[in-house]
């Protein structure tokens, strides 16, 4: 069982945060990593959280893997099923074990991953490993339980759909993607959710294909000793059989003309705008991802000229944000804003276009670029304040590449990005024909309340 240890920058954990801001590697903690013979990667990060450990299982399958028609939302639904017990530990046994240890435990699904976490007492690490390895290897549920859980997913959809973001996001993806599975949201289409109770057999095959050791990463952060944890992982997960079947995901064809849609909201509401531009996949070896992140800061952070104009000076919008979120395949740079009145919508769209055009026409000045990079470094350091937050931070990178070193490589890319890179990326990404615009309005009243 080979493993490697990435050397720490300093011995004292707390002091490492200082070097996070100034040193070569951004991630300030010792990373211990091994791979079991069945392909399961295990990452252990000792962190100064006496008595507490964060235990994450990252399945590198999300709604991106939902390639079969009519099964949108299934990765997320399956996340629910993972809490329904095994022959050895029933659902009640599993919940009782978590309750006894006083754990904060849950799971979430996104486009590219399904992630399960437990934060709890480090003295219970072996119990965590026992119940988690058991359900990942031996999940078992009946069709009645399966059908019932589908209703909980419908309930989740119902709670989310009262927020304009979800219907806009659904429409945006449908327009921007023709082939790739990013065409649907992680939540899935309502029609597919309603059909879920009939897909019991499909759910069994889903588990069989995707919940395999070589498609997963185990991440343990906190009061844990690496060697003993590796040994324990080998004992509990060693018998888990490999057999991951990577789905065949169609590549998206380039968007050749702008897309636009309008959603009518049933109640009075201010106009919402969502704009998506096609953007490249996550990369820790090129400036593509880092450049997009810096571009997002340049255009849409609170200190950006555009934000200042729209929110602070003209006060045309309640909020505006824009960012690229890491994705394994080419995805979207997404802009989202709520406009205070319908007559301001054209001015807002024009201002966004003008500021994008400015980023394409002129390189950002050196002082501004350095301020953005400083922000990114300090934001990272301030975010690492608990075992739970360290685990969440690192898990995003693990879901992209499976390699904890990705975090350091991305932050090295932030440092390497030049003003010319950002200008070039702005030119490549913000092309009018690759834009999708979704508006949400209330047709009879326009804006709700206020000016």
């Amino acid at each position: 069982m080979p493993h490697r240890t990435i050397p720490a920058l300093a011995a004292a954990l707390a002091l490492c945060l200082v070097s996070a801001v100034r040193g070569a590697d951004i991630f300030p903690y010792e990373v211990h990593e091994t791979k079991l013979e069945n392909g399961l990667k295990v990452v252990v990060i000792p962190f100064d959280s006496p008595g507490i450990v964060a235990y994450h299982t990252i399945v590198r399958t999300g709604s991106r893997d939902e390639v079969e028609a009519g099964h949108s939302g299934f990765a997320h639904f399956f996340e629910h099923m993972m809490f329904r017990g095994t022959e050895r530990y029933s659902e009640d046994d599993y919940n009782d074990a978590l309750k006894r240890m006083g754990a904060d435990s849950n799971a979430f699904t996104s486009d590219d991953r399904t992630q399960y976490y437990i934060v709890g007492p480090s003295r219970e690490l072996e119990t965590m490993m026992d119940i988690e390895s058991d359900r990942f290897r031996n999940l078992e549920y009946g069709e009645d339980v399966f059908r019932r859980e589908a209703l909980a997913v419908l309930g989740e959809y119902n709670k989310n759909i009262s927020n304009p973001f979800l219907p806009m996001y659904e429409r945006m993806r449908e327009l921007a993607f023709d082939r790739h599975t990013y065409r649907h949201t992680t939540m899935g289409y309502l029609a597919d959710i309603r059909a879920m109770p009939g897909y019991y057999d499909y759910s069994l095959s889903f588990f069989d294909r995707f919940y395999r050791p070589e498609n997963c990463v185990l991440l343990i952060v906190g009061d844990a000793e690496p060697e003993a944890t590796f040994e324990m992982a080998a004992r509990y997960y060693g018998e888990w059989q490999p057999g991951y079947e990577a789905p065949s995901i169609e590549a998206e064809t380039p968007q050749v003309e702008p897309e636009e849609a309008t959603i009518e909201w049933p109640g009075p509401i201010r106009p919402h705008l969502m704009i998506g531009y096609h953007a490249p996949a996550f990369s820790d070896t090129t400036t593509a991802t880092a450049g997009l992140d810096l571009l997002g800061q340049l255009l849409f952070s609170e200190s950006a000229d555009l934000y200042q104009k729209l929110v602070v000076e003209e006060q045309w919008v309640d909020f505006v944000n824009g960012s690229y979120s890491d994705h394994r395949d080419p995805y979207l740079f997404t802009i989202y804003t709520r406009v205070k009145s319908e007559e301001n919508v054209p001015k807002v769209l024009q201002a966004i276009e003008e500021h994008i055009a400015a980023a394409q026409a002129e390189p950002v000045d050196a002082d501004r670029l350095e301020r953005i990079k400083s922000h990114m470094r300090y934001q990272f350091a301030l975010g690492l304040d608990s075992a739970a937050s360290v685990a969440f931070t690192l898990s995003g990178y693990l879901s992209m590449t499976g390699d904890p070193e990705s975090v350091n490589r991305v932050y090295a890319q932030y440092q390497a990005v030049t003003a010319a890179d950002i200008q070039r990326i702005a030119g490549e990404v913000f092309q009018p024909e690759r834009r999708t615009l979704v508006r949400l309005i209330h047709p009879t009243t326009g804006a709700a309340g206020g000016s």
């Binding site: 009645d144 309930g155 759909i161 602070v312 922000h375 304040d385």
Partner: protein, 499 residues
């Protein structure tokens, strides 16, 4: 000043310095949580002024005044200049007004502490009160009421509405963000006057945590002492409304599902000994965002009614998705509530009855020894996860000062060690009730829902998969349970938070 240097035993291992700084003369209460090796510093300024201090007809004034500090320029700098100064250090001034307090807080890396401190002092001591900032912040509050609560989140709407309904006619009875009409009537002069009256030394609790030096704290306190000393903004709260019968408020809006909340005021807070046995009973009934609460197991797990079902003996101050409670929202009066997340309309009546059934069952039958022991152990461990970061530890510590008690997280542990099953079951009997409550439904077709509630006919369930015999047997009782509403009123969503 009144100074507290605090070392909770659970985090004593993290602390390396226990030296109190020299005490300058001020009326500011200072709370310290030093951790010399930490590269971060958390600062929290808690002013004892909240929405309970809003003058009648100017609801929202406390929140707007808070925003005019935390989201605005100063006498010297525009808001943009403040943002630009904070941006390279990735720090901010987070401001929040609740019923009782306004909190301004932030975190900074110690490399940038001096710059941050200078900005913080400027923001607190020399607010700019510009017309542009005033207009923007006022519109932000108004938009929260009209476009977020009314229009864009049924769950946030229900969570705010249940408080307003339970505390109707009481100083807690309006949202901290105010009302649409109240905000409209507020002038910039009102803000200036409110600030002059309440932003004083005696109303301020200053909390600091992390790797700061005593001299830094001394300097900060000395400069904050240029606030007027003032007189305490203490407001004697009237007793909470007496809830008799079962009063329903149906908020009518276009929506596909029905969100349900019910509750009533509680005569105790975390400062009372009875709170801790009740905490065990409540956790057993419906610990927020866990799968092991009885409400969750019965309504979602056994019946697939919705996504989640929880109960509370304190106000839940966080966005719905967060799992553990946040500090910095202390209150002198609390309430019990049950939150049934959106259900499909055809099951709303049954879901309400099922939740009432579970509240009754716990109050009448209590917990078993085993249930008690597991839940007690759960809370002893789980509560330690609530304060993992510097800022949350500091926040819970300052809240404890507000309540006049020892560090809350330690107090949970201490009480859990001593509490008995008899105390828990007695607390459940005494404080939990399905007989008298106020309820909020967020629903479409509210008149039809109101008619169904008034008719009180049985509401049998139809399942997509057969539940257990035990569940079916319980359903016979639940579906025919008489709710017997004492009042049912329908409020169009456009009228919510109006005045």
């Amino acid at each position: 000043m009144r100074k507290v240097l605090f070392v909770p035993f659970l985090i004593a291992a993290l602390l390396t310095s226990g030296c109190a700084p020299k005490t300058p003369q001020s009326a500011i209460e200072v709370v310290e949580l030093p951790s010399a090796d930490s590269p971060l510093i958390a600062v929290e300024l808690m002013f004892r002024v909240g929405s309970i201090h809003d003058p009648a007809g100017k609801e929202g004034l406390a929140a707007l005044t808070g925003l005019m500090l935390g989201q605005a320029g100063t006498a010297q700098k525009t808001y943009k200049e403040i943002i630009d100064a904070l941006y390279p250090m990735a720090s901010s001034f987070e401001v929040g007004t609740s019923r009782e307090v306004t909190v301004l807080r932030g975190e900074v890396h110690r490399e940038r502490l001096d710059e941050y401190t200078a900005l913080l002092e400027e923001v607190v001591l020399e607010p700019g009160f510009s017309e542009d900032d005033f207009r923007r912040n006022k519109e932000e509050l108004e938009a929260y009421l009209t476009n977020t609560l009314r229009a864009a989140s049924d769950e946030l709407l229900g969570l705010e509405a249940i408080q307003d309904v339970i505390f109707a006619g009481h100083p807690y009875g309006h949202a901290p963000q105010g009302t649409v009409q109240g905000l409209a009537s507020i002038t910039l002069d009102d803000v200036r006057e409110f600030h002059r009256q309440h932003y004083t030394q005696v109303n301020l609790m200053l909390g600091v945590a992390g790797g700061y030096s005593p001299s830094w704290l001394e300097g900060l306190e000395e400069r904050l002492a240029s606030l007027p000393e003032g007189t305490p903004s203490t407001l004697e709260l009237p007793p909470p409304p007496t809830v008799e019968g079962r009063e329903f408020t149906l908020i009518d809006k276009p929506t596909d599902s029905v969100g349900i909340h019910f509750g009533y005021p509680l005569p105790i807070t975390r400062a009372d000994a009875d709170y801790y046995p009740l905490m065990i009973a409540n956790s057993f009934l419906g610990e927020h965002r866990t799968f092991h609460g009885r409400l969750m197991q019965q309504l979602r797990g056994e019946r697939g009614l919705n996504y989640g079902d929880y109960s509370y003996i304190e106000h839940w101050p966080n966005p719905p998705f967060t799992s553990t409670p946040n500090p910095a929202v202390p209150r002198r009066q609390q309430y019990f509530s049950v939150w049934i997340r959106p259900v499909v309309p055809s099951t709303a009546h049954f879901a309400l009855r099922a939740a009432l059934h579970e509240v009754d069952r716990l109050a009448n039958e209590g917990m078993t020894q085993e249930e008690f022991e597991i839940t007690r152990e759960f809370l002893r461990n789980y509560s330690k996860l609530w304060a993992q970061s510097l800022a949350t530890r500091l926040g819970f510590l300052m809240d404890s000062r507000f309540y006049g008690m020892e560090y809350y997280i330690d107090e949970i542990d201490r009480h859990m060690a001593e509490v008995t099953l008899e105390q828990v079951n007695a607390a459940a009997r005494r404080y939990l009730s399905a007989d008298a409550f106020r309820a909020v439904f967020v629903t479409a077709d509210a008149e039809q829902v109101a008619a169904a509630l008034r008719a009180d006919e049985p509401s049998p369930m139809e399942y997509n998969a057969p539940p257990s015999e035990e569940v079916l047997a319980a359903d016979e009782t639940i579906e025919a349970r008489l709710v017997e509403p004492s009042s049912v009123s329908v409020v169009p969503v456009a009228e919510m938070f109006e005045n």
